[in-house]
């Protein structure tokens, strides 16, 4: 939407140009290589037989391929259930934080009210919250309100972890949508929020996607709270906790861990690649506003 396609002036003298662009392409190749190597290593490990995983003569390309680790990962008891739990908790947290943040962001970006400044400051401070240390108080509160062992508790925690970032970015997005558009709709007889819903919200779709993906990744990977707040009801464990089940007294089944990690990263990757254009333009639009 608002992102302008980069406008590279095309010149005709192309051979000299190509030479000049060589360092540029070298840089691009280097970036791709550096970014992808660890990702590749994760995926390649998942396909290597255990004996080749950490070997004194590493190979860049596995010489034998195996699906064994994926089989181990998928057949480990509870794979589907924990996958579901993670999805449930993560989606719940992300949707909740989107809805709540949208309201707050709208109020901040479009309305003048006493306390607005303090609210914005509070959101920024919330972004700095020391979650590692809040685990004990959160545990105590959950225990005293009988909320331990419940997925809802995790959902609420993840909602809170992602809310500040979501609000900050959405506020920027809303500010980039010219209010005149909505005013025009209001002149045509829409209510204030009707105008917002019909006009601004569709324009905000990329922003919503960008922020929800960020929240998704954060919540999807979280281990400490999932380990600490789900105690006796083991059916409520989430994927990151389940991932640690490949560790035993004799070491870690790294092949299965990497296979599981690959499977685990898949949803995030798929969504990301699918929406990549929206995400990048979305983030830009949102962040320009600060």
């Amino acid at each position: 939407m608002s992102a302008v396609r980069p406008n590279i002036p095309v010149t005709k003298r192309s051979s000299a140009r190509r030479l000049r662009r060589l360092p540029l392409h070298a840089g691009a190749a280097l970036t791709v290589l550096v970014c992808l190597f660890p990702v590749y290593w994760m995926a390649a490990t998942a396909f290597k037989p255990s004996r080749d995983i950490q070997s004194a003569t590493p190979r860049l390309v596995p010489h034998t391929w195996t699906l064994e680790h994926f089989r181990t990962a998928v057949h480990t008891a509870g794979f589907a259930r924990f996958w579901c739990n993670s999805l449930l908790v993560t989606t719940g947290a992300v949707l909740l934080s989107l809805v709540v943040a949208l309201g707050a962001a709208f109020a901040v970006a479009r309305m003048r009210w006493r306390g607005r400044r303090q609210f914005v400051l509070a959101v920024f401070v919330a972004q700095m919250a020391p979650w590692e240390s809040l685990i004990i108080p959160v545990y105590i509160i959950a225990r005293d309100t009988d909320m331990l062992d419940r997925l809802v508790t995790l959902t609420l925690v993840y909602f809170m972890v992602t809310l500040p970032f979501t609000t900050i970015v959405l506020r920027g997005f809303i500010a980039t949508v010219p209010p005149e558009l909505e005013e025009a709709a209001r002149v045509d007889g829409c209510t204030r929020f009707g105008a917002f819903r019909r006009i601004a919200l569709p324009l905000l779709a990329p922003g919503l996607m960008a922020t929800s993906l960020f929240g998704f990744i954060t919540a999807w990977n979280e281990f400490a709270y999932a380990n600490f707040l789900i105690i006796k009801n083991q059916d409520n464990r989430t994927l990151p906790v389940w991932l640690s089940s490949f560790k035993n007294t004799f070491g870690t089944d790294w092949g299965a861990t990497m296979a599981a990690s690959t499977l685990f990263a898949l949803p995030a990757l798929a969504v990301f690649l699918l929406l990549q254009r929206h995400v990048t333009s979305g983030l830009a639009a949102g962040a320009v506003k600060g």
Binding site: Q54, S55, L208, A224, N227, I231, K232, D235, T249, G251
Partner: protein, 423 residues
């Protein structure tokens, strides 16, 4: 349009998830209804095999129809936090398997049930010291010995034969070094000993009469800088050099059993159970692995070893303490201990049961060492030391050329700090 699609998609996903996931997750309810109590037991991953667990559960259900037993397997990652969370909760699991060195800190916190008066009922007189002592705190028994295991040398019979080394003749440290040197040729490693295998170091230190930490004037102090401890580290350095074990990693990175499975490793220091992992990874080594106790300073006394193992504890917050006790009594009783030791290559929890595993070569080698079993300092502060583990850094520093005495002094101070910060 885009937005409508987005809402539609998310509502759809949400609906799918709710319908797909919610079924069957309500089995936690119904606790204690209808006269039977549901007993939740936490055992650690791989502490019992699936077959043993099934056999035990079936027999237990038959003997105690009023108790509905639910065994949950716990993962090693983050277990300290998890047990903490469980003990502090309102509805704790009823029995928890806890590493023997971890009992003290939980006992000190008041989260465990005092079982001192049940000692004789459970046959406490013949309990293994390495399990019973760490299970006690200030004269009261909180942890009930469950099983023990200690490290032995797992070796390749074929490589020993080819090098002309007789494993039965390796009785002293000097013989061990000589034999290992002979085995360490070309691309063959005499021993694969990682730089941070700290409980092996602990054994060498105990052999020399040293210790990891000592209590002076009621205060715990790191003792790596004492002469005995320094001599132990010196021996570790000589042994470690006879192979290609990484100096900056422990035996889990990569798993040493996997390294041995890849071949050309003559020895590792591991629990006998580790041998099964080796043959699992490389079936060609089946029948080629042997065991002998870690050699001591002289031939008449095998090397000291760290008694690893677990105790069973009953949280104070358990709602079914009587049923929990019934469970503990069964599992730590003679009948099941013999079966467990055979199934898992463990040392049973009582010295009187040692004969039960005499037929198993791994367990037999282990039993010899178990007579020289030691435990880490029995204080809540020790758990803090293990959590940070400055000993591992110390070993790496010395092995990579650091000054032995200076590093030892520095690390002893760190241990002192960690132990006293926590208590």
């Amino acid at each position: 349009m885009k937005f409508r699609m987005l809402t539609g998609a998310s509502v759809l996903t949400a609906a799918l998830i709710v319908s797909g996931c919610s079924s069957g997750s309500d089995d936690a309810a119904g606790d204690g209804a209808g006269g039977t109590s549901e007993l939740t037991v936490w055992l650690m991953r791989d502490s019992v095999s699936a077959a043993f667990q099934k056999e035990f559960a079936t027999a237990f259900a038959a003997d105690h129809p009023d108790i509905h037993l639910k065994i949950q397997i716990q993962e090693w990652d983050g277990i300290g936090q998890k047990v903490t969370a469980a003990l502090a909760g309102n509805d704790a699991p009823d029995v928890i398997e806890v590493g023997n060195t971890q009992v003290a800190q939980y006992a000190q916190s008041g989260g465990l049930l005092d079982l001192s008066d049940r000692r004789s009922d459970l046959g406490g007189d013949t309990w293994l010291k390495g399990l019973a002592e760490p299970g006690a705190w200030e004269g009261k028994q909180y942890g009930i010995p469950y099983y023990a295991a200690n490290r032995v040398v797992v070796y390749r019979k074929d490589l020993f034969q080819r090098a002309g080394v007789d494993p039965a003749a390796v009785k002293t440290r000097d013989q061990w070094l000589a034999a290992t040197e002979k085995l360490n040729k070309g691309d063959q490693q005499g021993i694969y000993l990682t730089g941070q295998t700290w409980y092996a170091l602990a054994g060498f230190i105990w052999d020399e009469g040293g210790d990891l930490a000592v209590q002076r004037d009621g205060r715990w102090q790191g003792a790596l800088d004492t002469p005995g401890a320094l001599a132990g580290m010196e021996f570790y350095r000589r042994l470690q050099a006879l192979g290609k074990g990484p100096k900056d990693a422990d035996e889990a990175n990569p798993p040493q059993a996997e390294v041995m499975a890849k071949g050309k490793v003559a020895q590792i220091i591991a629990t006998p159970g580790g041998a099964n992992v080796v043959t699992e990874q490389n079936p060609r080594l089946k029948g080629k692995l042997g065991f002998f106790p870690i050699p001591g300073k002289s031939a008449d006394k095998p090397g000291a070893v760290f008694t690893g193992g677990s105790d069973l504890v009953i949280p104070a917050a358990s709602r079914h303490q009587d049923a929990a006790y019934t469970f503990v009594k069964e599992l730590t009783g003679d009948t099941w201990q013999k079966k467990l030791a055979l199934a898992m290559s463990y040392v049973p929890n009582k010295t009187s049961l040692a004969s039960a595993v005499a037929s198993d070569p791994g367990a037999a080698a282990m039993a010899v060492g178990a007579a020289q079993g030691h435990a880490t300092p029995n204080t809540p502060g020790w758990a803090a030391v293990e959590a940070e583990n400055p000993i591992k850094d110390y070993m790496t520093a010395v092995l990579t050329g650091g000054d032995l005495e200076r590093e030892a002094t520095k690390t002893s101070e760190e241990i002192t700090r960690a132990m006293n910060d926590a208590s």
